[in-house]
Symmetry: C2
DNA sequence: ATGAAAGCGCTAACAA
DNA sequence: TTGTTAGCGCTTTCAT
């Protein structure tokens, strides 16, 4: 193994000079620097991560805590994870992947063993047991997601948070539909399990949806659904039964998107002529759906990138900046249109078979 | 920060004794061990990862190289990644996540910086540029996937591989269908990009499919498809045009599963009465599809687990064991049945519209 | 069964 | 601008 001492010897300088060339922490004359750089290249030297960590108390590693609980849409998690690692690499950091299995213990392990310099925490619950440990930890942490419904809540104190402004996102969906004349809207939400364990983003979306619905005089029905065809079918059936005049749907459930579109097609409800559909999902899902969806995009990449940049800043001495919410962006596509003016808005058109009707 | 020296002082023993209690590498009298353990608990001591790595040249970290190239089904990758991390944890290892961005450079980085003890490499291509570096590396590596079409090929020398036996999996699908009387089968494969870059598993599946088709006198059509409704529709249309008598489909493309089923439904082709469908996909996809699919399952968890266990074995001194292929398991579900005996097998039944017919 | 002590490879004062 | 040196916290040989 090639050590720093080897390089120093080869270049005819002292070890510290080599170290300083590497870190750039003091000025080196051009000739020496070049000579040392040449030795480094020739010998194929790489600093030993452990030795560096021991001497400098910096590992250049970020820990990514990613519990994968039921009901979460895996590709989004993955996209965040990938954005985190690539952004981290571009700042010279590696990423240690931690699953949820260990729970709060993982936080203590990272802290106690100095195995990483900082942590990114995903899938934050309202009363997340990791939070107390994160607050006490000497290392900075950034949450992707909010532990509480409101951005400035006490629970967030001292912790940096990055997330989509799901409340605004929900509101944006209703506003868009209200603008098209829709007054009866149903929401197909995340699976029940997601709400039950108090996942922040789902609750916040609902808050935004309801507030906007009130403001615009829109009637709102909310149904959590599992991402299966059967569950979606059952939920939609109930919706049209309980409120036949429904002309628009908001979907916040990536796994339910295709089942929903297939179902509507099968029922002979045309999108957007009979029913408008707005989704809250990644652009990729919206674009590739069998009907391109008008949607508020969930900016997975950006969230990952922001989290890392925040963390890198903190490690460079910046102060915590609290919560940073990404403003929602709604892109109109083919799935929404004005509410039908003449035809009865709730009955499928005549030449299609369907279950609707009042 | 609590150090080993602190613990030693607190327990009234030497540092080495504490170290040996931790590693179990020499026998300690019960009283001393208990006293030391008590001090460890009281002080909340955790060994410093960097210091340990420096002194022992072991990091207790496994690197997971997971390029996420187009056409890959993300949830499978994720499931492997999760299985890797949880299995790794159960053996005392952490996992460092590396994306494909860096390519072969990542291998050299891990090797040179002693940042991990071993590596798991995913998404291996036929002529993967990482392979030469992996072979030269001092650290053991396990590939998930095969770099070549045949298990014993030269390219694999010295490297451990773990994978599903995709060749046998392909064969198994054809055998199942042949057993039900089907003689004209079409394969909807992975996206073209996957074949083009020479991904081993796709090629191997095809080999197995073709061999079995030959053996059983089955006519086989192969169409790579992107996982979109439009692409699937186009491919299926071509299939029934070119070979109207087709009565069964094999799908090796998770993203295409639902679009395919929706399309068949829409065309009025009943599954399995008019068309049998066999998939090669994770159980979860097969079970939750809108028609529960007869499928050869892709055992993502097991692959991740096996890879880690192999690696842990190697780190404990075991010799490389070469390639280990997991035998395919086909589970019959609702999507396959005997080829229709009386009715013309290629035309949809009368009350449905369809494009088939000879 | 336990202790003493020499590093592991690097960083960062402190000197010159 | 460069060199000298004292650790960082742990493992492990060599003694006892």
């Amino acid at each position: 193994m090639v050590t720093l001492a080897d390089v120093a010897r080869h270049a005819g300088v002292s070890a510290s000079t080599v170290s300083y060339v590497l870190s750039g922490k003091r000025s080196i004359s051009a000739p020496t620097r070049e000579r040392i750089q040449h030795s480094i290249d020739t010998l194929g030297y790489r600093p030993h991560a452990g030795a560096r960590a021991l001497a400098s108390s910096r590992t250049d590693i970020l820990a990514l805590m990613m519990p994968l609980r039921t009901g979460l849409y895996v590709p989004v998690m993955m996209e965040i994870a990938m954005a985190v690692t690539t952004t981290a690499r571009s700042h010279g950091y590696d990423v240690l992947l931690l699953t949820g299995e260990e729970g709060p213990e993982a936080v203590r392990r990272v802290e106690g063993s100095a195995i990483a310099d900082a942590m990114i925490v995903m899938d934050v619950g309202l009363d997340d047991p990791r939070l107390p440990w994160l607050r006490e930890a000497a290392r900075p942490a950034v949450l992707i997601g909010l532990p509480t419904e409101t951005a400035d809540a006490v629970g967030t104190r001292g912790l940096d948070c990055v997330d989509l402004d799901f409340e605004a996102a929900g509101a944006r969906c209703v506003e868009h539909l209200a603008g098209l004349g829709h007054t009866r809207v149903a929401v197909l939400g995340e699976p029940p399990a997601v709400y039950e364990r108090g996942t922040g983003f789902a609750a916040r979306t609902l808050t935004g949806l309801r507030a906007a619905a009130d403001r615009h005089g829109v009637g709102l029905l909310h149904r959590p659904v599992d991402g299966t065809y059967a569950a979606v079918a059952a939920a939609v059936a109930r919706v049209f039964e309980e409120r036949p005049g429904t002309t628009a749907l908001v979907v916040q459930n990536e796994a339910a998107v295709e089942p929903l579109l297939a179902l509507l097609r099968h029922q002979g409800r045309a999108v957007p002529e009979d029913v408008s559909v707005v989704a809250i999902c990644p652009d990729q899902v919206a674009v590739h759906a069998s009907v391109p969806l008008t949607a508020v995009s969930v900016p997975a990449r950006e969230m990952g990138r922001l989290a890392v940049e925040r963390l890198v800043g903190r490690l460079a001495g910046e102060e915590p900046r609290g919560t940073e919410l990404i403003a929602p962006r709604l892109t109109p596509r083919a799935s929404t249109g004005p509410v039908a003016a003449l035809a009865s808005p709730d009955a499928p058109t005549e030449d299609r078979r369907g279950h609707g009707g009042r």
